[in-house]
């Protein structure tokens, strides 16, 4: 879908701001991390849409397409990541939006992180990852897209 978004850029050749959707997936309400990250990314200059807690995989995929984002940042502390994240990836496929990159942060054991990556998640951040590192990885994911890096 980001192929669409390239067309809405103002003047040709001018890079637009990268857009990131931040959401809490599933039922857990631990939104501190999601809010801190959303605000930090905004301060770094990204366009950020935070849609809050209790979002289903389907709601997130739809919102991402509707908001025309480059990246989805998922925060999860419920331990349900191995069920909900693959579902999100599935919904993105169904919406032909596989070019939207998914990054995940939260309490994710090491083995699960490896499995999520093999399923198509671009990055998994465990607690204590400095925001700089997250931004650096986001920039890498954005390389090749007609968007500003931060």
């Amino acid at each position: 879908m980001s192929s669409n978004s390239l067309e809405i850029v103002g003047a040709p050749g001018l890079k637009r701001r990268a857009k990131i959707l931040v959401a809490k997936i599933g039922l857990d309400g631990h939104d501190r991390g999601a809010k801190v990250i959303a605000r930090a990314l905004k301060e770094y200059g990204f366009e950020v849409v935070y849609i809050g807690i209790r979002q289903t995989p389907e709601m997130i995929a739809k919102a991402a397409v509707q908001e025309d984002v480059d990246i989805i940042g998922i925060s999860i502390h419920s331990g349900a990541h191995m069920v909900l994240i693959p579902e999100l990836i599935e919904h993105l496929k169904r919406l032909n939006a596989e070019d939207i990159k998914v990054i995940v942060g939260g309490i994710i054991p090491w083995e699960d992180a490896q499995r999520l990556k093999s399923m198509g998640v671009s990055e998994v951040f465990t607690p204590d990852t400095p925001i700089e590192v997250i931004v650096e990885k986001i920039n890498k994911l954005l390389a090749g897209k007609n968007v500003e890096q931060k």
Binding site: G26, L27, D28, G29, H30, D31, R32, A34, K35, V36, A38, R39, A40, Y50, I51, G52, I53, T56, S78, G79, A80, M82, V83, L84, I107, P109, W110, T126, P127, D128, P130, I131, E132
Partner: protein, 561 residues
């Protein structure tokens, strides 16, 4: 404290000389500014001058005596060690039952139930939204039968149980009481706590279901019913823990928690109760953080402030109404995923703060909780931490051992002063319910959370192994054995059981009692007798919650960040 004039003058001149000498001798501090985690500036040293204006009898006094700064009981842990109450729950009720018994066998003295996310927001395990979450971060309890299994072979008349549950509190309390009664436990022996702190759900924790005003009404129903029926039950645990974990400072945690408490007291008074009828049953729940002295001072200030609020604002006469009795949990957000074994030390320091602060009961986290639920091993280690503090360290041998410390007394006064400012602000908005609807505490907490993160990123706050003293990680620090739950299997087990349960009951009766509940809720009656009746008539958690939702509606949270 009262010092004579001569003493004060002598001390002042001594300090002046000392300050000059310090500079002359070239002593330099390694930081420009030392502060507590709440941002309170900390001086080089404290002396009687710092508490010279503080009246000993009014502010400090003795344990067991108003304003209870030093503790609510005369002899505190010399009489009875705090209750060791480890928050536990995972999988099916049968799974958690085993863990509870394991902990009791190892010396735990109270139970505390962690429910899974579907249960916390009132969903049965067969709800599609529960997929992936059944039994994962807590135990799945959807029926009276689940509650019975959870307490199999546990004497509910002897041990006290805390249940961390909020919007579904009326349902879970009904399940618990019904099971206890069915075993012949009389109401005056049913002891424990249901969290039932509806207001803080909107500020933190976020397991809200109903809109704030209805949630408050339901919470008060639980208090009213419990006060009438269960003399030993704590029908609310007014909680700061989640507020701190969501990002608040210790001062904000204290202020918002007491402000919530004030709102509940007013709501009960508005129902026609006199404060001494119910206040003795109110209980509290705070965090204990790594910034040891700040948390000790916070606990001391909390007791003094609540006693004053109850006595002076609400005219309480009973001593018990003035007591701030509280449970403490060591801070989870202060634990780190990197080098997780370091958390054992962090938890020990946090637990020491709770004990020196005079807690009535304590949960120590397990060191692996920044990664997963605790294993049997890490849960036992957490319990052992408490036992070592209680029985080996001598920390429990005298009451309020830090009382009279110039620093601690100064800091207690300072935290109290700062917290009153926030409470005044909430009062000026017309109380906590209005403040929440205005988003005031939510915004303040979000702001503090962001500030704390920045302090770590900018190295203003050192976190060992995280932003300082980093090194190559050893394999055994990265791949630690973690607790795993097989969610699919648990969900299937819970759903099968639920199906059998539903087919074994009188469906027409269930419909009737749910309709009665809805009508009572519409009339504005106390819903508890009707919820209880539904619970014993075998309505499920979700069915009862749906009836309540049909009357009260559901909350949708404004997005703030």
């Amino acid at each position: 404290m009262t010092f004579n004039k001569e003493f004060i003058e002598k001390l002042k001149s001594l300090i002046d000389q000392w300050e000059r000498d310090k500079i002359e001798l070239g002593y330099r501090d390694r930081l420009d500014r030392f502060t507590t985690d709440s941002g309170i500036k900390v001086k080089t040293v404290y002396t009687p001058l710092d508490i010279a204006d503080s009246d000993y009898f009014e502010k400090i006094g003795l344990p067991g005596v108003y304003p209870f700064t030093r503790g609510i009981h005369y002899n505190m842990y010399r009489g009875k060690i705090w209750t060791m109450r480890e928050f536990s729950g995972f999988g099916s009720p049968e799974d958690t039952n085993k863990r509870l018994k394991y902990l009791v066998e190892h010396g735990e003295t109270g139970l505390s139930i962690a429910f899974d996310h579907p249960t916390l927001i009132g969903l049965d395990p067969d709800n599609p939204l529960a997929a992936g979450e059944v039994g994962v971060t807590g135990v799945s309890v959807a029926t009276i039968e689940d509650m019975d299994l959870l307490f199999k072979d546990i004497d509910m008349g002897k041990i006290t149980t805390n249940m961390t549950i909020n919007p579904p509190a009326p349902v879970m309390l009904s399940f618990y009481v019904a099971v206890a009664r069915s075993r012949g436990v009389s109401d005056d022996r049913i002891g424990g706590t249901v969290q039932n702190d509806q207001l803080k759900e909107f500020i933190a924790q976020k397991t809200w279901v109903f809109p704030p005003r209805s949630a408050l009404k339901i919470g008060i129903d639980v208090i009213e019913w419990s006060v009438k029926n269960l003399p030993k039950w704590n029908p609310i645990s007014i909680s700061g823990y989640h507020i701190y974990e969501a990002g608040a400072t210790a001062v904000q945690e204290l202020a918002f928690t007491l402000a919530d408490g004030i709102e509940y007291v007013r709501a009960m008074i508005n129902r026609g109760y006199s404060v001494d009828d119910f206040a003795p049953r109110l209980s509290f729940f705070f965090v204990s953080g790594i910034n040891v002295f700040e948390h000790i001072a916070k606990f001391r200030a909390a007791r003094r402030m609540w006693a004053k609020i109850m006595k002076e604002w609400f005219g309480a006469r009973k001593k018990r109404s003035m007591w701030l009795r509280f449970h403490t949990q060591t801070s989870g957000v202060e634990l780190r995923a990197i080098e997780p074994y370091n958390n054992i030390i962090r938890i020990t320091l946090q637990a020491i703060a709770a004990v020196l602060g005079g807690t009535q009961s304590l949960h120590t986290n397990a060191f692996d909780e920044a990664l997963a639920l605790p294993t049997e091993f890490s849960a036992k280690l957490a319990l052992r931490t408490q036992q070592i503090i209680a029985y080996e360290s001598g920390l429990a041998d005298t009451v309020d051992p830090l009382g009279g410390s110039y620093y601690i007394e100064w800091l207690t006064d300072k935290i109290e002063e700062e917290a009153w400012k926030i409470i005044d602000r909430v009062e000026s908005m017309g109380g906590m319910l209005n403040a929440i609807e205005n988003g005031y505490p939510q915004r303040e907490i979000t702001e503090s959370a962001y500030k704390k993160q920045k302090e770590i990123e900018e190295m203003k706050k050192i976190v060992v192994g995280v932003n300082a003293f980093k090194g190559e990680l050893l394999e055994e620090e990265v791949k630690i054995p973690l607790f795993e739950v097989n969610e699919e299997q648990i969900r299937k087990h819970q759903i099968d059981k639920l199906k059998r349960f539903k087919s074994s009951r009188d469906g027409i009766k269930v419909k009737r009692v749910l309709a009665e509940l809805e009508r009572a809720a519409m009339r504005g009656e106390n819903i508890m007798p009707y919820v209880y009746n539904a619970a014993v008539s075998k309505a499920t958690l979700e069915e009862i919650m749906n009836s309540l939702k049909s009357v009260y509606g559901e909350w949708s949270e404004p997005i703030l960040y």
